[in-house]
């Protein structure tokens, strides 16, 4: 009379799985900024007033270590020919007028070097800079 129905496990529908994955994929595709510069090994100073840079897309990087090695977006600049910095930055600024120059300078570097770089930036009218620092005190 009352026949037992064969039990079937109710499966979760996976039909929308690709859609979910695609959505995640698009999120990462849009937010990803692929690193363009390699840089040189150095230790940046630490500070309390460290702030995040709002946009990574409008950045030019200048790296300088304590020995006076300077690179502008991975292009080596000879210390005797610092005028190159302003030329390189000028071309970047022409492409993007919201450019911020991130100065990644080793903490042992001398201010003379820093000033020379800043003078070059002023020549190129790139006045918005950011001294790259680590956050002092716990956490980061």
């Amino acid at each position: 009379m009352f026949q037992k129905k064969p039990k079937q496990p109710p499966g979760i529908s996976t039909a929308s799985l690709p859609d979910i994955i695609f959505m995640l994929l698009f999120f990462f595709m849009v937010t990803t900024v692929i690193k363009k510069t390699q840089g040189i090994p150095l230790v940046t100073p630490a500070a309390y007033q460290t702030k995040k840079i709002e946009s990574k897309r409008h950045l030019a990087y200048i790296w300088a270590d304590e020995k006076g090695t300077i690179t502008v977006d991975d292009m080596l600049v000879s210390p005797k020919n610092l005028g190159q910095i302003s030329k390189l930055i000028r071309t970047r600024l022409d492409e993007d007028n919201r450019l911020i120059v991130s100065l990644k300078i080793d903490k042992r570097a001398k201010m003379g070097l820093v000033t020379d770089i800043q003078e070059q930036l002023r020549d190129a009218y790139a006045v918005r800079v950011n001294y790259s620092t680590r956050f002092k005190g716990g956490g980061g």
């Binding site: 990462f28 595709m29 840079i53 080793d106 003379g112 009218y125 006045v127 918005r128 950011n130 001294y131």
Partner: protein, 141 residues
């Protein structure tokens, strides 16, 4: 009839591997995404040629020598003293119409001063609440 029309089958691309492809792409972007935020102290360098006349009362001068010692308005001070002195000076001078402190802090370093020391001072000055900061050019020797 002999030539019976075959029933048309709806041919479809097998989409069962779509999820796998999407996963693969997803993992690629997950791996390449760099979440390390660029952090730092924002500054605006002075533009060339633009000289402003400022009431000398509204300027605080900080001098840092090659060995990192600080001179604030002609007096040698420690880092802690500097911060306190600056904070009181900022309060004394009051704020502009736009709500920013009137006091302009000028930082001058020696060419031999370490960059780390300069950042520490700049950090202190910002911590004290100053928003107008000017970087004076060190004298060439």
């Amino acid at each position: 009839m002999l030539l019976e029309k075959k029933k048309k089958h709806g041919y479809e691309i097998n989409s069962s591997s779509m999820a796998d492809i999407a996963f693969l792409l997803l993992i690629f972007f997950l791996v390449t995404t760099t979440m390390d935020m660029d952090k730092g102290i924002p500054m605006v360098l002075p533009e060339r040629g633009g000289e402003l006349k400022i009431n000398p009362k509204n300027i605080a001068k900080i001098l840092v020598n090659a060995s990192g010692e600080v001179l604030f308005d002609g007096k040698g001070v420690s880092d802690l003293e500097l911060k306190e002195l600056l904070a009181t000076r900022i309060k004394e001078r009051g704020v502009d119409a736009d709500g920013k402190p009137k006091l302009l802090v000028s930082i001058k370093t020696d060419r031999e001063t370490e960059y780390d020391r300069y950042i520490t001072i700049l950090d202190l000055v910002k911590d004290a609440g100053a928003t107008k900061i000017s970087i004076a050019e060190p004298e060439k020797d």
